[in-house]
């Protein structure tokens, strides 16, 4: 009887998945949906992690300074960049997802702090692409390249790529080559930062692989599909891998966009080849790198606090404005589809790093930090209504969410190893965002 019951339960769990009939699972397998939130405090050098569905599952990690958080390796690891304290900490998230074509496998353990850290002069932008987390050290004149697969297994494996001059910029791998932002070689006074003038293809050893492409005041970068896009005063510069090296195209801002503004923050969709960028403080642009019009402008009612793309439904993005309203952006229609008030107002006057909410996506919820309320708020993507809150000590600020849905093959067991035969795991984990901030 018990055996029959166990069999029935296992069968029900497997059948609940429905979508992986090709699998030959003759062991206990369970459908699991788990989102784990990592949130950095605004004032304290600490990161709190908790499971969104069971917030009592909670862990706190001490770091050196204020943390800007990035999920890498499809959320298997989290990087905490501490720009004001010259440090970078790393965590395994405890949630790993491996795509198997018709379904994903999920494995869940506790998050852990990786003992090794990176230190160096002013780490800032991080790009996660092609198995590498590339951290720009703005005052060091180099990027640290972190192997994200090793990181997901708790190991810090790094290499460096030198830049011609230290600046607030980035480097990114594209195919066999790299691109790096380039600073002017004009002298500067004191601690002033050099002007940023363009983007250059380079080899893996840092040697030039082509001329500098003009991109004045280059800032903000994201990958989507085959494209890297980066913001410039002239427009948005795109880069793709061509048959004979990298191909650059400047998508100039059209005349019907408001004058005197530009794009400096970009998000890239993982589902469609499309970008969402800011255009000034109170505008957004949907950027199509292939089809015209390349830019479609969306005017916001107030200045933007933060924005995010929905990885589950590529049609939508979400933006919070300083009046405390959350707006759902229809990426196809290039318009605000619906809006709702979700927090008290947070004025964009003042310093860029003043405590203000930050957004992240967790399946069919938008998760946003609310520093003044000491909360992480959960908002439905369908209705924009709040569906719950989680109290977080201090001032919850920068935030990332890892996890998703998958089949847990370890249900009822404690040991799990992987061996593949003619079948690669999918490790898509492009980092597609950059942050708003002032420049040195």
């Amino acid at each position: 009887m018990l055996k029959q019951l166990a069999y029935s339960t296992a069968l029900a769990l497997v059948l609940a998945g429905g979508a992986y009939a090709q699998d030959d699972h003759d062991h206990d397998a369970e459908d699991v949906t788990l989102y784990r939130v990592f949130v950095g405090d605004h004032a304290e050098p600490s990161v709190t992690a908790f499971d969104l569905g069971e917030p009592d599952n909670r862990w706190t990690f001490e770091t050196t300074g204020q943390n800007k958080l990035y999920s890498v390796e499809n959320g298997a690891a989290v990087v905490a960049v501490q720009s004001f304290d010259d440090a970078v900490n790393f965590f395994t998230s405890g949630v790993s997802l491996h795509a198997h074509g018709d379904h994903s496998d999920i494995a869940v353990t506790d998050p852990t702090a990786i003992e090794e850290t990176l230190t160096g002069p002013r780490p800032f932008h991080l790009i996660d692409h092609d198995g590498k987390a590339v951290i720009n050290f703005d005052r060091g004149g180099y990027v640290e390249i972190v192997d994200t697969h090793a990181l997901s297994e708790g190991e810090l494996v790094t290499s460096q790529l030198q830049q011609a001059r230290a600046h607030h910029g980035y480097a990114a791998p594209i195919g066999d080559l790299w691109v790096t932002s380039v600073a002017s070689d004009e002298p500067v006074e004191g601690d002033a930062a050099p002007a940023r003038i363009g983007l250059q293809p380079i080899n893996a050893d840092g040697s030039p692989a082509g001329d500098v492409e003009t991109c004045t005041a280059i800032h903000g970068e994201a990958f989507s599909g085959a494209y890297l896009a980066t913001g410039c005063q002239e427009g948005v510069l795109t880069v793709t891998e061509g048959a004979d090296g990298l191909e650059f195209e400047m998508l100039e801002y059209p005349e019907d966009l408001p004058a005197g503004q530009s794009t400096g923050t970009l998000l890239g969709s993982k589902v469609m080849q499309v970008f969402l960028g800011n255009y000034g403080g109170d505008g957004l642009v949907v950027i199509d790198p292939v089809d015209e019009p390349h830019f479609r402008y969306i005017e916001l009612p107030f200045r933007r606090v933060d924005f995010a793309l929905d990885p589950t439904n590529a049609r939508f993005g979400y933006v919070l404005t300083e009046d405390g309203s959350l707006h759902q952006i229809d990426m196809l229609a290039a318009e605000v589809a619906q809006s709702a008030s979700v927090t008290e107002p947070y004025s964009m006057d003042g310093d860029w790093n003043d405590p203000r909410p930050r957004l992240a996506m967790a399946g069919d919820e938008i998760v946003l930090s609310d520093p003044n309320a000491g909360l992480v708020r959960r908002v439905s993507t369908e209705t924009l209504e709040e569906v719950g809150t989680v109290e977080v000590e201090g001032m919850p600020y920068n935030i990332v969410v890892v996890g998703g849905s998958g089949v847990d093959h370890e249900a009822g067991s404690d040991d799990h190893d992987h061996a593949e035969e003619g079948h690669d795991h999918d490790h898509e984990d492009d980092h597609d965002t950059d942050e708003d901030h002032d420049h040195e």
């Binding site: 074509g101 199509d288 990426m331 093959h409 593949e420």
Partner: protein, 309 residues
């Protein structure tokens, strides 16, 4: 009197709607060029066709665009291959919020498991086999292509009943052409000596052609062009080629030829031509339609293996 007036008015509205529906073309989206050709054969000028992945383009690695999602949103019928051939499709359909009938044309096709697929998990010391996927290149057998055409006919009739007779007539005529094509391929391949039936292709897209017509293809890549062949894969392939006495190496219109050129060089062979596996050619190329594609491929394969080149 009033009743007659209402009836007359009602009838005129009905007939206007019917005329409107008859004039309006069925909006069809096909995921890639081969399915697009099938749709054209069945739909003729009664459909307004949009093809997402065009000639000489690879659906395995296609990056969809907002315009694709908009096309799906406006469609009446969406034709896909299924079997995870178009990895982008499910999420694109979700983004489009389309209300169209989405038809996977491999419905009712006997799909084969991807060769060499699958892998093991080790849990508590127990090896658990995770089965591989199904080979999606089912159109490479004309027998399967006929099922695609029948599925398209049924989908069009379902969505546009007024024009169903035309769709049925078009499908019937095209199915007869496919029967003739099938017989032609069997005769061509049947003329090859038994010891001249092994070739090499870039990715494993010809499993159904092999099974249907009695050839064998070796390949350095799996069924998806997304995976890359390792040095060990290449070394193993060259060993296999020697053992099987492979007679020819073929490039593919959607794949980079550099790896094949390396293999050909190491095996002492030359590339014997280009096969069209997952996409048609441009209109002025040798494979602008499915029938032209299968004829071109068969001619290229049989003449190379027969040693005519």
């Amino acid at each position: 009197m009033i009743r007659s007036l209402i009836t007359a008015l009602f009838c005129s509205v009905i007939s206007f709607n019917a005329a409107h529906a008859q004039d309006e073309k069925l909006r069809v989206v096909a995921s890639f060029s081969i399915i697009g050709d099938f749709a054209t054969q069945v739909g003729g000028d009664r459909i307004d066709l949009r093809i997402l992945v065009g000639p000489n383009s690879d659906a395995h690695v296609y990056e969809p665009r907002p315009a694709n999602a908009m096309a799906l949103a406006e469609a009446d019928v969406v034709l896909t291959n299924g079997l995870q051939f178009e990895g982008f499709m499910d999420r694109l359909i979700a983004a489009s919020a389309t209300e169209a009938d989405v038809v996977a044309l491999t419905e009712n096709v006997a799909a084969r498991e991807e060769p060499g697929g699958g892998h093991y998990h080790f849990i508590d010391g127990e090896a658990i086999f995770h089965a591989g996927g199904l080979d999606p290149h089912t159109w490479q057998s004309v027998v399967n292509a006929k099922i695609y055409v029948e599925n398209i006919r049924d989908a069009f009739c379902e969505a546009d009943a007024i024009n169903c007779a035309a769709y049925e007539a078009n499908a019937e005529a095209y199915l007869a052409e496919l029967d003739a094509l099938d017989a032609e391929i069997r005769a061509s391949v049947g003329g090859l000596p038994e010891d001249r039936r092994v070739g090499v292709v870039a990715h494993n897209a010809f499993g159904y052609y092999e099974a249907e017509y009695g050839l064998r293809f070796l390949s350095p890549q799996g069924v998806s062009t997304e995976s890359e062949a390792s040095a060990a894969d290449v070394a193993g392939l060259i060993e296999q080629m020697r053992e099987a006495d492979a007679g020819a190496i073929f490039a593919e219109n959607i794949s980079d030829t550099r790896l094949l050129e390396q293999i050909a060089s190491e095996a002492g062979l030359e590339i014997s031509g280009v096969l069209y596996s997952d996409a048609l050619s441009e209109p002025d190329g040798p494979a602008p339609t499915y029938i032209a594609m299968m004829r071109h491929n068969t001619r290229t394969i049989t003449s190379a293996l027969a040693g005519d080149q």
